[in-house]
Structure formats: structure tokens, C-alpha cells
């Protein structure tokens, strides 16, 4: 987008910058060791051509492009939201999506995710590692999954890969911010509902939209093997090993699943409570931010 044109007043300012640049270069040549040159950015905004000048680097740019970038840089759009997006954080760095009930086939491997051999941790979890010894540690279950609510957090912006995802269960579709969320009785979830992706954390390809990325990520969650790591969300339902729990679940009809009394989180965690965790305050700007802001505007 860099260009020159024949506007007289713009030419004057460009000449002035080039003169300063030449002077700057001469200063360097005369005393290249003693003078430490500190290149502070100088920005000239004009009606038709604008310039960004730092040290020996000059970018000239069409001012309309600069103003468009100026506007774009001050906020980000949402990208294509996945179907049934129910909330977007004010800084557009977190979203919540809802998925309707579905019959899903999952693979459960009754081992700890960290090892392919029996480990003490597995014994501590009481997750049925005895199945491992007789080569019968893989199970395929067909389960009716209730309504689920997913949160995705994007610390680097909504156009990058997400940092973390959480999933919760519900008996019905969300109707308001005050609706309660429940533990989804499944393994590989931290106690706060965050997903442990292991080595399968979905990365965002440069061309994928937010919508396709989120849908792909949810598919990855269900199609990747479950194991007996992180069982606390399942443990709250009590008294069963993981494979017994999945086994029991697989015999329930969808109506029975949707009638289940799911376990509350922290005495009644609501959709709004989780959303508020993501509406974080913006960090204060440093001396560097303004320079970077203009540099980005001219670079795009």
C-alpha cells in the first residue's frame, strides 16, 4: 500500500522527512561510535498520504488505508460464529456455544493417559485398571449426551487457536444468563469443567473460520479416546468405576438422560457466573503500545 503521489503539500512533508533522514545518516557517519541513535517513531498523518518514520525506515501509505486500519485496530469483529453461540465476551476473546442432545459413540480406554502400563495413580482413582491386565481395556460405548454448554477462551484473539475449553451439562436448552450449569459425568475434565486435551489440542489452520474450528474441536473431543485421567467430574456421581459409569450411561434412553439429576457445581454455578470469569479487565497500556499501534496500522 506504500505509494507516492503528486500532492504538493504532501511532497513537502516527505521531502522534509527525507532531509531529516539524510541528516540522520550523516550524523551517524561522523560519529558512529559515540552517538547512540534512538529511533523513536514519527508519524505524519495527512489527507492523502501518511508516513511512518523510524530510524532509517520510512513507510508511506495511502491515508484512506491508514484510517481503515486505524478503525480496524481499535476493535475486532467476531469472525463467523459457530451455530448456537449464546455469549461473546466484551473483548471478543471468549465465547460460549450450546450443543443439543446427541447420540455419540465414544471409545474409552481404561488406562491412565500418561502411561500404557498399570500405574499407582490408576489404582488410586479406582478406575478399573484390572481390565488392563487381561487385554480388555478398550470399550466402545454408545451414549446419549444431554445438552452441553461449551466455553472457549482465546487469549491471543478470536482469530487464533483457543487456550482452553470447558464443557458443562444441562437438562434443557439455555433460556437465560441465570440458568445453572452442571458437571458432565465424563473423564478427562478438570474439576472446573476445563477439558484436558492431552496431545490432541486442536490447532487453528490459518484459513479456518471460528465456526469450523469450534465445530471441529468439539468433534475432536468426542472422537478422541477417553481414559481414566481426571475423573472428578465423573466421581461426583459416585460409587462406580469409569467403565461401569459409561456402561450404565449407555443403557439410558435420551429421555432418561435428560431426566437425570445432574450434580451442581459450587452450590449452583450459573451460565452468568462462568461468563463473568472471562470478562476480564484490560491490562494497562505501556509506553510501547502506542508505537506498536501505529506500526501495525502502517504494516497492514
Amino acid at each position: 500500500m506504500s505509494q507516492m503521489h503528486d500532492n504538493e503539500s504532501d511532497t513537502i512533508i516527505l521531502d522534509s522527512i527525507l532531509n531529516e533522514l539524510n541528516q540522520d545518516t550523516e550524523d551517524h557517519q561522523s560519529d558512529s561510535i559515540a552517538v547512540k541513535h534512538t529511533p523513536f517513531p514519527e508519524i505524519t498523518l495527512a489527507e492523502s498520504v501518511s508516513t511512518y518514520h523510524i530510524g532509517t525506515h520510512i513507510v508511506t501509505s495511502d491515508s484512506i488505508a491508514v484510517s481503515k486500519n486505524f478503525f480496524k485496530k481499535t476493535a475486532t469483529d467476531s469472525n463467523i460464529l459457530p451455530p448456537v453461540t449464546r455469549w461473546v465476551s466484551s473483548d471478543m476473546k471468549a465465547i460460549a456455544v450450546e450443543r443439543q442432545p446427541a447420540n455419540i459413540t465414544i471409545k474409552y480406554v481404561d488406562i491412565c493417559g500418561e502411561t500404557t502400563e498399570y500405574c499407582e495413580e490408576c489404582e488410586m482413582h479406582g478406575c478399573g485398571c484390572d481390565y488392563f491386565d487381561n487385554d480388555n481395556n478398550e470399550f466402545i460405548f454408545n451414549i446419549n449426551v444431554p445438552w452441553t454448554v461449551w466455553f472457549f477462551e482465546f487469549s491471543d484473539g478470536i482469530n487464533k487457536s483457543f487456550n482452553s475449553a470447558s464443557v458443562f451439562a444441562r437438562n434443557s436448552a439455555l433460556t437465560s444468563m441465570d440458568d445453572e450449569l452442571f458437571y458432565l459425568p465424563i473423564t478427562n475434565l478438570f474439576p472446573d469443567g476445563k477439558v484436558c486435551w492431552g496431545s490432541s489440542h486442536p490447532t487453528r489452520s490459518s484459513h479456518s473460520t471460528l465456526s469450523s474450528y469450534i465445530m471441529h474441536s468439539i468433534n475432536v473431543f468426542w472422537t478422541d479416546d477417553f481414559n481414566n485421567d481426571l475423573t472428578s467430574c465423573m466421581d461426583v456421581y459416585g460409587g462406580y468405576t469409569c467403565d461401569q459409569m459409561f456402561e450404565s450411561w449407555s443403557h439410558k434412553t435420551m429421555e432418561e438422560v435428560l431426566d437425570t439429576e445432574f450434580q451442581s457445581i459450587d452450590n449452583g454455578l450459573t451460565f452468568s457466573n462462568v461468563c463473568s470469569l472471562y470478562n476480564t479487565k484490560k491490562e494497562p497500556a505501556t509506553n510501547y503500545h502506542l508505537s506498536q499501534f501505529f506500526k501495525d496500522i502502517f504494516a497492514e
Partner: protein, 285 residues
């Protein structure tokens, strides 16, 4: 006008001068903290839009433009078979239950989330990608460029000033405000091409009635097999193509850019406005 800014990153001070007229002297503005100017220019004042209806597919950076999507369904519409100015108690009102494909609504809201501009497009599948193509929906009250002719529409007290209510209002403006024969651009264009399902009729009052009666007989599956017409800004040969740009293509990305550019040229900010905003920032921080 020219604005010159020098940012001293060590001291965190931005010094600036402005030339208000060509060849005039530069006027020095007071030095300010660069971090404060940055925060003025990048305020984190986007509000939490709250609970979203399940249909929202895109939200602009200003939160005032939104795209929402509706799945296929049977849509009930009432049509007054006359131009609006001629409608009286003897005007024939017909109702139809029309199978409608996936529809996408581009909406610009005012600061209270009242819809200001609404455009309607259709598709045979839900939206997945920026490159997905959008099509012209043959319905009354739409200009040729798929923009809705806003009905006189009273804002009911039940509507709150939030996005969820704004979307309900926009949807009501399109489907529940009553159709008449004032604006038939997209219908007559599609009729002449046998869209949908080879349906065609004359462009007069009786023709409209026949067209929608036959449409009513189609199933949703048949509707979703329709090869819809590409949306354009103007009808071929209207002579208006010269003075206003056509969308580059009928992809979601290009139609969204076209919608934005035609409603808010240059995304709402000009070079001068940018400079004024920075100068204002320097004076108030």
C-alpha cells in the same frame, strides 16, 4: 490538515504538532503520556451483549452490525394485493405458508439496538465459511439489492434495548409487517427466471397471487434444491451500475464488505476524522 506525532518510547511521552491548513505554520500540541493516548484510542468500552439468540453468526467490531441466520421452515405471510397507497378496506388480503430456505439477515442497529438497515439473503445450507455464496430471495418489500424497505413499525414496549430484542424486531420487520405490492423487484426478477422450481406468472396482482400459491405447494426439500439467483446491486441495464459499485462476488465476505461500505462508507471513519479523534484525545487526556 496534517498531524505529526513523535513517540518517545523511553520517557513515554508523545509530542505532536498540527498543520490545520496547507502551508500554514505547525501548531505545537501539549506533550502527553503515550500510554494514555493509546488507551483513549483503544478504549475497552465494548459492552457485554448478554445472552445471545442462537442465530447470531457475526458481530461487527462496533457491535452495531450483526448477521443472523434462520433455518429452513414454513413461513406464514400476509400480502395486501395492492400498492400501499391504494390499500383500503376492500383490498384483497391473501395469506400464504411459504417454504423458505436458510435465510441470512444483515442488520445495522442504532445505539438502542433498533434495526436501521436490514438485508436478506438465502442459502440452501447453513453458513460455514467466508467463501460461502449467498443468494437473492424472491420476497416482497425487498429492493433489488436485497435490502428491506423498512416498514412503518412501532417499537413495542416489550422490546428492550438489547441485541436479542433488536434481532426479534428485525425478524418481525421482514416477515410480520405485512407485504404489499409496492416493491416487487426481487420477486419479478426471479419470476422471470422461473425461480423457484420453474414457477412463473405475470407480474400483476393476479400473477403474484398465483406465484405464491404455487410456491406454497412446494416442499422444503424442493425449495432446498433451488438454484437461486445471484444478488446484485442493480438490475442489468438500469444505468445505475456506473454510479455505485456492485459487490465483487456473492460470497459472504464480499457481500458483508459491500453492505458495510455502502452503509458506512470507509467504515465510518475518514482520514480527517481519524486525525480529529487523535487531536481530541491529546486535548482531553
Amino acid at each position: 490538515m496534517k498531524l505529526k506525532l513523535t513517540i518517545d518510547e523511553l520517557s513515554g511521552i508523545v509530542s505532536s504538532s498540527v498543520q490545520y491548513m496547507p502551508r500554514a505554520e505547525y501548531v505545537q500540541l501539549p506533550d502527553k503520556k503515550s500510554s494514555e493516548l493509546y488507551e483513549y484510542l483503544n478504549p475497552n468500552n465494548s459492552s457485554d451483549l448478554g445472552f445471545l439468540p442462537p442465530a447470531v453468526r457475526w458481530i461487527s467490531n462496533t457491535q452495531r452490525m450483526v448477521v443472523f441466520e434462520r433455518p429452513p421452515g414454513i413461513q406464514y405471510v400476509e400480502v395486501a394485493l395492492d400498492a400501499k397507497d391504494n390499500i383500503n378496506k376492500w383490498t384483497k388480503i391473501e395469506s400464504f405458508n411459504l417454504p423458505i430456505p436458510w435465510t441470512l439477515y444483515f442488520v445495522l442497529f442504532d445505539e438502542n439496538f433498533n434495526p436501521v438497515v436490514v438485508s436478506v439473503y438465502c442459502r440452501n445450507e447453513p453458513l460455514y465459511d467466508w467463501g460461502d455464496k449467498l443468494y437473492m430471495l424472491p420476497m416482497l418489500n425487498l429492493y433489488f439489492n436485497s435490502r428491506l424497505c423498512n416498514p412503518v413499525f412501532e417499537k413495542f414496549e416489550m422490546f428492550e434495548n438489547n441485541l436479542i430484542s433488536g434481532i426479534q424486531q428485525a425478524y418481525n420487520m421482514v416477515w410480520n409487517s405485512g407485504w404489499n405490492l409496492d416493491l416487487k423487484d426481487t420477486v419479478t426478477h426471479c419470476m422471470s427466471r422461473g425461480i423457484p422450481a420453474g414457477l412463473s406468472a405475470s407480474h400483476n396482482r393476479d400473477g403474484m397471487s398465483i406465484y405464491f400459491k404455487n410456491w406454497e405447494k412446494l416442499s422444503i426439500l424442493e425449495i432446498l434444491e433451488t438454484q437461486w439467483e445471484v444478488p446484485r446491486a442493480f438490475e442489468n441495464g438500469s444505468g445505475l451500475e456506473e454510479c455505485s459499485p456492485e459487490p465483487k462476488t456473492n460470497t459472504f465476505r464480499d457481500l458483508l464488505d459491500h453492505f458495510t461500505d455502502t452503509i458506512i462508507p470507509n467504515n465510518g471513519i475518514t482520514t480527517r476524522e481519524m486525525m480529529v479523534k487523535i487531536i481530541n484525545g491529546i486535548s482531553v487526556i
